[in-house]
């Protein structure tokens, strides 16, 4: 086990930021910490890193209790902060070299690691650029390179794709999977469920500092009753027709809003064909019709009663 968090409680005066949070992360996992803004993801990360005081709980990393002076543990951790943490007065290369130098003393080894990190994040053409000359996406990549250059065993990425263009975002996500393939255990926090679904092998959903659910994405989706969601874009559906759809076998709910008919069905049923037959029979005009499997947002919605993206 790489990380073990047990019964973690953190208060900011009257606000309970972490409410008896417990989880563990195994070696080789890409562990996603998913939750809306203000749910306690960054607070949990800062507690794990011993930056923040907490009121109660235990944190173990690599089998040892985590403390501010646990330098042997810190040596094997790489951190990519939510905010860009680089020096504006140093070039991209110098920034990576500086932070890598806090972990690796040997100059030759460091040079090799820095070059590998530059190649890894694709900053080869920008090594002599100062941070203020880099675009948002390149700056994020530099931020990542500074955190991972020393080849840590555990990499913590706290919302690394915030305000990043799609191209850089894909590059970052691919890079994270590559790091994982190379043997690093990853903790990835985000409020973007699609990112978490895409790269994480196991996910912890938190809200108001509390664990909502943990598991693989399939396990999480299996926790809820929703099996399929069919959307029909149409502006000519009558109340009578809606009532008739509700009576179709396997349908659990029907909602008609903004010219979109959303039909939900339970697990194990496939109603797309049935719905299509009904539409043809009733001669309902429609623009598009599509079926979706449940997302992590649906999981969050069903458990908490609110949208994850809120």
């Amino acid at each position: 086990m790489v990380v073990k968090v047990k019964d973690l409680v953190k208060r900011y005066r009257d606000i309970l930021a972490l409410d008896h949070l417990s989880f563990s992360i195994n070696e080789g996992e890409v562990f996603g910490l998913l939750g809306p803004n203000g749910s306690g993801k960054t607070t949990a990360i800062n507690c794990i890193l011993s930056l923040l005081k907490y009121d109660r709980g235990e944190i173990w990393i690599f089998g040892q209790p985590m403390r501010p002076d646990a330098y042997d543990i810190k040596r094997n951790i790489g951190i990519v902060m939510q905010n860009i943490a680089v020096y504006n007065e140093l070039t991209a290369y110098q920034n990576i070299d500086y932070f890598c130098g806090l972990y690796v003393k040997d100059k030759n080894q460091r040079k090799k690691l820095v070059n590998e990190a530059i190649e890894f994040v694709g900053l080869g053409e920008f090594t002599k650029f100062y941070p203020r000359k880099l675009s948002g996406g390149l700056l994020r990549r530099l931020n990542i390179a500074c955190g991972i250059a020393h080849k840590p065993k555990l990499i913590i990425l706290d919302e690394p794709t915030v305000a990043v263009d799609p191209q850089s975002r894909n590059k970052i996500l691919e890079g994270i999977l590559e790091l994982n393939k190379q043997g690093a255990t990853i903790i990835y926090t985000s409020h973007y469920m699609d990112e978490v679904e895409q790269i994480c092998s196991r996910i912890l959903i938190i809200d108001k500092g509390r664990e909502i659910a943990t598991g693989t994405k399939d396990e999480l989706k299996a926790m809820i009753s929703l099996g399929e969601k069919i959307t029909v874009e149409s502006y000519s559906i009558t109340e009578k027709q809606i009532s008739a759809i509700k009576k179709l076998p396997g349908i659990t709910s029907v909602d008609y809003k903004n010219n979109a008919l959303i039909i939900k069905s339970g697990k194990g049923t496939n109603n797309l064909e049935t719905v299509l037959d009904f539409i043809r029979k009733e001669n309902i005009h429609f623009g598009r019709i599509y079926s979706e499997m449940p997302t992590l947002n649906d999981v969050f919605l069903e458990i908490t009663g609110k949208e994850l993206r809120d």
């Binding site: 800062n46 930056l51 923040l52 005081k53 951190i79 943490a85 020096y87 140093l90 806090l102």
Partner: protein, 378 residues
Amino acid sequence: MFIHIFTYRLKCLLRDYEGIFWTMLFPLILATLFNMGFSNLNSAEMFNPINIAVVNNESYRQNQSFKQTLEKVFTGDDRLFNLSVVSREEADEMLKDNHIDGYIIAEQPIKLVVSRSGIKQNIIKSFIDNYMHTFSAISNILEKDPGKLQSLINDIESKVKYSKEVSVTNAEPDNVLIYFYTLIAMACFYGGFLGMGEVSDVQANIKPVAARINTAPVHKLKTFFYSSAASIIIHLTEMLILLAYLVFALKIDFGTKTSYVLLTTFIGSIAGFSFGAFISAIVKKYEGFKVAVIVSVTMLCCFLAGMMYQDMKYIVATKVPILSYLNPVNLLTDAFYALYYYDTLTRFFTNIVILTGFIIVFCSGTYLIIRRQKYASL
């Protein structure tokens, strides 16, 4: 590790152009402006001979005693008047063209013609009044008791001074020096920006980069000390450049105790750095607020030390003397002042010892605050 952190910190500081401006260029510019503004201040207080004329008429030519008296006051380096002997018309013309401040008609009584009133005109009038008063006294004595004439002449020639001027130093009095001394003190305390930066860079609740440093396997106090060494080196260099500029380019006199001047600059630099670090540690706000606090406190201290109004230093020293000892800028200014004016080092070392006390307080306070390793919030 020291070399690694120290070298990169030096690079950061040398590329921080805004920081370099405020800690080095700004004091240099201010010193240049001071020099331009104050260049006439000392010369304005020097006495220049007054240009006068005397009308060359018959009564002047015959008035030997007046002629001899005038001769005494318009010859030599410390003469009172520059005298021209001219006709009445020429004297009028010269007065009209402001070539003279007044002219004398040596009639009985002696007349003074001026075009306006002022200090120079008062001096000429006092001279004439004094002459006439003495002349009248001598005439009266000659008339009533000629035997006492010699005794009177002796009295006039041997005026007795009842006070004695004692010099405590060989240094020439210079009214503008205090401005330059406070300027150096200000520059020293602008080193507070560097101290502030060093503390902020290890406070995870202030800067993201500090949070990254706090997660690295290096004690943050080590990082702080190594980086601070670079900052102090940079600031000391800046102070030496300022000192060299003042001494060699602006010809500001610091006296003869060069090694003590350098010691004072070094201690001032450390005091300024530690002051900024302390402010940064105790003020739990964003960096802009900390800068505002450092600038405000420094400028207030400079004002009380006489930077904007020279007499303020004296006023504080006489009305609230304790404030003189609680103001580190004043202590630094006074240390330079004491080195220049006093032959003994008692006053200088008093200032240096108190200043060192301030450094100890600032450093201890900073250490106690930043040594904590976890934060309540980030």
